[in-house]
């Protein structure tokens, strides 16, 4: 999301699950789909079985995905950028890029301002006191015509491609080996496989998940792959793409609906304090094309924004009051999970509603989260399961040490029913919105989340209506037109997300002709208007529920081309497009790059193919409209201008806890703009006390902290363990099944030892470096064996762009120990 949107225009999996079967090379890096997405992994199996695809796995651990791979290489946690910039260097210096694609469909030829530089680990504009960049110079040369300057010959040294070549020049195979610990021969072998797809005949898909996001430079990990896929011409084609595999059935859905605290549904922006008025907000969102004739689809921002406000506030949103702009909260700073926990810890948060989040176990640095929860006045936990968060005040010996008598927090548990006990939709990784039907009634007094939230809202609304207050308007005027206000149906909510026509829309040519009738559902986002006559709760979902019915209920298995394009199964945003940017599957003249990868092509009068073109269906190739229609450039970005906080190109920064110095630039070791709270600087460990690199992950037998409450999952993987390389175990006299104590600067856990060849001892900067792996999943509530919270160990720092905690790379020490008190020893 934080890197795909700046690169391509939209922050989502670009292809979809079924499409993986069309790949020739599958690169699994930053994820472990066999473990975390076993059902989706079937498409990898299909590609291998029917497409003779090669599966490559690059991971610190030899994973379940690696078990069925053709080629595996290890790397040190937190060094993916060095590895991938090395791959980019390889294909650039060996001329393996898809040059025609790169020239036509990326900003390779755009000329960057003279002021932009990269020196000693920093880009232009760094302010050390603010830990932030002034990003003004990270921009194209703009000509007098207002458009960005380009040099199609690439002769200008300030062209993006030339700057990129210079930037990656340092990442030789030797440097990659030194930083990542990946043996040079394996690295080069992988480079060859990757390079084999840079030609339009073959394609590579990238599958990743939280192995890339959970780093202080997570967004830039993904950026590297986005750039690599552009250089190879693997975007918009079958079997290509950068594919974020979502860890929950509906993570894509919640992201679409405004997960980030600075976003509104449909990736509209929640205004910040700097945007006091509607005019302020719109000023920076005109998105004028940066090249002649480009679509720059975000030019329509105002239509989506106004339609959203109308969905939210109905008749209270008028042109006169700037569509109730004042009703929206204006943010001062992003409130991600780390910020919330830090605010609790500082004693600045009175209450907290934890809905479907076991924050005590899931937040980094459990000790801090525990102290934070104890400072709340009240805590509401909405969950189908008993969670540690709801029981944070209970003393469970060394598993949860707390003086219960001193905790004053009032905890209220509201039992929610599970997904199978309510109807609604899931939006999967491939952006497919699929309806699910209710299978059973919820247990006991449980209610659906919808009902619980509606219950809270209707009561609050009544209180505000009765008692007033400083500013009751947004709450008492919230549009709430449901048949049963205390229990809206998922059907009603989905219609609302799709949007309605509020007034008859007449044909501008013939005022007697009504194009859309008031009260009908909007057919697609092209019909949304900025004059307050349409509503849409989430503009990208528009089209999912039309007058023709609920599109998310469709279940047709028709796939006319056999490419896995099930156009009538569910509804895929945007506009039912299965592969994003699919116009790029044809060359500039509209001809497919190859017969094998034929997808969307120009037939002389329109763009045709098995998918909905992600493009104007009748825009002629000669018009030179770029395939990346969301970007004002019309093309994708190898250089992201100022759209990412930590640089327009990725750069290798060490994790905040690293066993070695940054050999590329010692003074700038870790991400220079990642946010660290004052108190947490002293909580980072050093290699003298914590010499081993640790990483955390999920196991296929469990799902987060839920399934430990379920007997079968507990049978299949009963107890917390850590995986240790054989060399480390030997050094420490640790045998399989022994108890070990693992400590970081923030705390310690005890667990069983799994001694394995699958965790490497890598040679980093010439020194042997052990990598330790620790699964999550266990806690002090549930059916599985009681265990420590793995997040006792993890550092309190996150990605520079979205603050996802750095769960994947930190330092620990390992010692042999005895069973925790209260744990039966076996």
């Amino acid at each position: 999301m934080a890197s795909l949107a700046p690169t391509f225009g939209r922050g989502a999996m670009t292809n979809h699950w079924n499409d993986i079967k069309n790949a020739d090379v599958i690169l699994v890096m930053g994820g472990n789909p066999a473990e975390a997405h076993p059902c989706g992994f079937k498409w990898v199996t299909e590609a291998k079985a029917h497409n003779k695809a090669k599966l490559i796995v690059v991971d610190p651990r030899f994973t379940r995905s690696a078990a069925v791979s053709d080629l595996y290489a290890p790397l040190r946690p937190g060094t993916d950028i060095a590895f991938l910039l090395g791959v980019m260097r390889h294909i650039l210096t060996n001329d393996k890029i898809h040059t025609e694609y790169v020239k036509a469909f990326t900003n390779a030829t755009f000329i960057v301002r003279e002021g932009f530089k990269f020196e000693n680990g920093l880009f232009t504009g760094y302010d050390e006191t603010k830990r932030d960049y002034a990003r003004g110079e990270w921009e194209y040369e703009i000509g007098e015509d207002g458009f960005a300057k380009v040099d199609p010959t690439l002769a200008n040294p300030r062209c993006v491609l030339n700057l990129l070549k210079a930037h990656v020049e340092r990442y030789t195979p030797e440097t990659v080996e030194k930083i990542c610990g990946t043996p040079k021969d394996k690295f080069l072998k992988i480079c060859e496989h990757v390079a084999s797809t840079g030609n339009g005949e073959r394609s590579m898909t990238s599958l990743y998940a939280l192995g890339w996001t959970q780093h202080s430079h997570g967004a830039q990990n993904i950026r590297c792959m986005a750039m690599l896929q552009l250089l190879l011409g693997n975007m918009g084609v079958p079997g290509g793409g950068v594919n974020a595999l979502r860890g929950h059935a509906n993570v894509q859905g919640i992201t679409d609906l405004g997960l980030l605290t600075t976003a509104l549904p449909g990736y509209l922006a929640l205004p910040s304090q700097a945007e006091a008025t509607y005019a302020d907000h719109m000023k920076t969102r005109r998105f004028k094309p940066l090249r002649p004739g480009q679509t720059s689809f975000w030019q329509n921002y105002e239509k989506f924004f106004v339609s959203f406000q109308k969905a939210m506030f109905g008749q209270a949103a008028t042109k006169e009051n700037d569509w109730a702009y004042d009703y929206l909260p204006k943010w001062d700073t992003p409130y991600d999970v780390l910020k919330i926990v830090d605010t609790m810890y500082e004693g600045k948060l009175n209450g907290c509603i934890a809905q479907g989040l076991n924050v005590l176990m899931a937040s980094a640095h459990k000790g801090k989260a525990l102290q934070g929860l104890a400072k709340l006045k009240w805590l509401v936990v909405i969950d189908p399961l008993e969670t540690e968060t709801a029981r944070f005040w209970e003393n469970h010996g060394e598993f949860n040490e707390i003086d219960s008598a001193k905790v004053q927090t009032e905890v209220i548990q509201l039992p929610a029913c599970t997904v199978a006990e309510e109807e609604g939709t899931f939006t999967n990784s491939g952006r497919n919105i699929q309806w699910h039907w209710k299978a059973a009634n919820g247990a006991g007094e449980s209610r659906s989340d919808l009902e619980i939230m509606a219950g809270i809202h209707t009561r609050l609304r009544a209180l505000y209506a009765k008692e007033g207050g400083a500013f009751p308007d947004p709450i008492v005027n919230l549009s709430w037109n449901y048949a049963r206000p205390e229990a809206p149906s998922a059907d009603e909510v989905l219609r609302e997300l799709n949007g309605y026509v509020l007034e008859d829309v007449k044909d501008p040519q013939d005022p007697n002709k009504v194009l859309m009738r008031a009260g009908t559902l909007v057919p697609g986002f092209g019909a949304l208007r900025a004059d307050g006559t349409t509503t849409s709760g989430c503009w990208i979902y528009t089209g999912c529920y039309t007058e023709a019915g609920n599109m998310t209920m469709r279940r047709s298995t028709d796939d006319p081309t056999g490419l896995g394009v099930y156009q009538n199964w569910g509804f895929v945003w945007p506009a039912n497009r299965r592969i994003l940017y699919n116009r790029a599957s044809a060359d500039a003249s509209g001809k497919p790059w190859s017969t094998r990868k034929k997808y969307i092509a120009w037939n002389g009068s329109r763009w045709t193919g098995p998918d909905v073109p992600d493009y104007g269906p009748t825009v002629k190739p000669e018009a030179s409209v770029g395939p990346f229609i969301m970007n004002p450039e019309g093309v994708s970005r190898l250089f992201t201008r100022g759209l990412m906080r930590d640089g327009p190109f990725p750069e290798h920064y060490e994790p905040f806890e690293s066993p070695v110095a940054n050999s590329l630039h010692e003074k700038v070791a870790s991400n220079p703009v990642a946010r660290v709270f004052k108190e947490d600087w002293k909580e980072f460990g050093k290699a003298d006390k914590f010499p081993y690199v640790a990483t955390t992950y999920r196991l296929t037998e469990h799902f987060h902290y839920w399934t430990k409450t379920h007997l079968i999952n507990a049978i299949l993987q009963p107890e917390l363990f850590a995986e240790l390389p054989e060399a480390l175990a030997k050094e420490k006299g640790i045998g399989p099944g022994d108890w070990v104590r693992i400590s970081s600067a923030r705390g310690a856990i005890k667990c069983k030892a799994v001694v394995t060849k699958r965790l490497p001892t890598l040679t980093i900067h010439g020194k042997p470096t052990h990598v330790v792996g620790i699964p999550i999943h266990y806690g002090f509530v549930g059916t599985a064996r009681k265990g420590h919270a793995t997040n006792t160990l993890t550092p309190f720092v996150g990605d520079a762009n979205v603050n996802t905690p750095e769960y994947k790379a930190f330092l620990v020490n390992v010692e042999k120990t005895t069973a925790p008190a209260g744990a039966p020893s076996v």
């Binding site: 076993p38 690696a66 078990a67 069925v68 037998e701 049978i715 299949l716 009963p718 699958r758």
Partner: protein, 296 residues
């Protein structure tokens, strides 16, 4: 289990009478486990527990991924994980262990209880619990170390190849649940043909010794494996290279059997007289308590 009809039985333990012959068109079935496609997700284990309504006790981590630690009366199938350093290239060999449903079943041969073990015409070998006397001979007779005797009820248990599902035209629960189609189910001929395709693919990917595991020593099996290293089956958590029914069992089935039967007959006569003289055995309270403990 015994969920197919008696008309489908091809062989019956400790029985000399010929089986029914009226049905003769059964297709021999087989489950093909493609180890090279297995990701060790244990969905098959979960499906087995769900379908057969089995629940093991929550165990411990013993330093490996294998959980539960071994087959048991409530664990009929189990992933066994082996790390294999193949000349500097690591391999993680994950084999789903369970009953092989031998064409020549050692368990059935060894079983002294009439009708406690049956083989259906489709090849499935099934335990009929109400006839089982818990003697454990099937354990000795099995070349793959599969059956387990329950302490609670003194019966032998193992995978039924979901004979109840197969009887109504369904694939076994494990095959149904497998996300990567590493478990295939169908006629034995089809499974062999499918395996051949897979072996070609594996050879192309550099596994020169890829092959099918369908050991002739037990007359072939109705659960077969595709192995990357078919020349070294023992790499896969000790899968026997050339499994054979134990010599002792062969002997029992041969000359010594009439002698032993005479012995059993004698014991029955003695038992009868014991009953006449001393009356029936009575269950004491202590016996009940002990039984309760075991059952718990």
């Amino acid at each position: 289990m015994a969920t197919l009809q008696s008309l489908d039985i091809k062989r019956r333990s400790a029985t000399t009478e010929p089986p029914p012959h009226v049905r003769g068109n059964a297709i021999e079935v087989a489950k093909l486990i493609d180890v090279s496609k297995c990701i060790g997700c244990k969905a098959c284990q979960a499906a087995c527990l769900e379908w057969n309504d089995l629940r093991e006790e929550v165990g411990y981590n013993t330093g490996v991924y294998d959980n539960p630690a071994d087959l048991s009366p409530a664990t009929w199938t189990l992933m066994r994980f082996t790390e294999f350093d193949n000349k500097g290239n690591l391999e993680w060999l994950i084999r789903k262990d369970g009953c092989m449903h031998c064409e020549d079943p050692g368990c059935l041969k060894a079983c002294p209880a009439p009708g406690a073990i049956v083989q259906y015409q489709n090849g499935i070998v099934d335990f009929v619990s109400e006839n089982c006397i818990g003697c454990g001979y099937c354990v000795k007779g099995c070349p793959f170390n599969i059956p387990r005797i329950s302490q609670a009820d003194n019966k032998a248990y193992k995978c039924t190849l979901c004979s109840d599902r197969v009887a109504v035209g369904q694939a076994p629960a494990c095959a149904k649940a497998c996300p990567t189609q590493a478990i295939y189910f169908g006629s034995k001929d089809d499974m062999i043909a499918h395996a051949e395709e897979r072996i070609v693919d594996l050879k192309e990917r550099g596994y020169a010794n890829a092959g099918l595991y369908d050991p002739k020593g037990v007359g072939g099996t109705h659960v077969m494996y595709v192995l990357h290293h078919a020349d070294q089956p023992e790499l896969y958590a000790g899968l026997p290279n050339e499994p054979r029914i134990s010599r002792l069992v062969e002997l029992w089935k041969g000359g010594t059997k009439p002698l032993a039967l005479a012995g059993i007959g004698l014991a029955a006569v003695v038992g009868f007289f014991h009953y006449i003289v001393k009356g029936p055995n009575e269950v004491t309270e202590e016996d009940d308590e002990r039984a309760d403990q075991i059952n718990r």
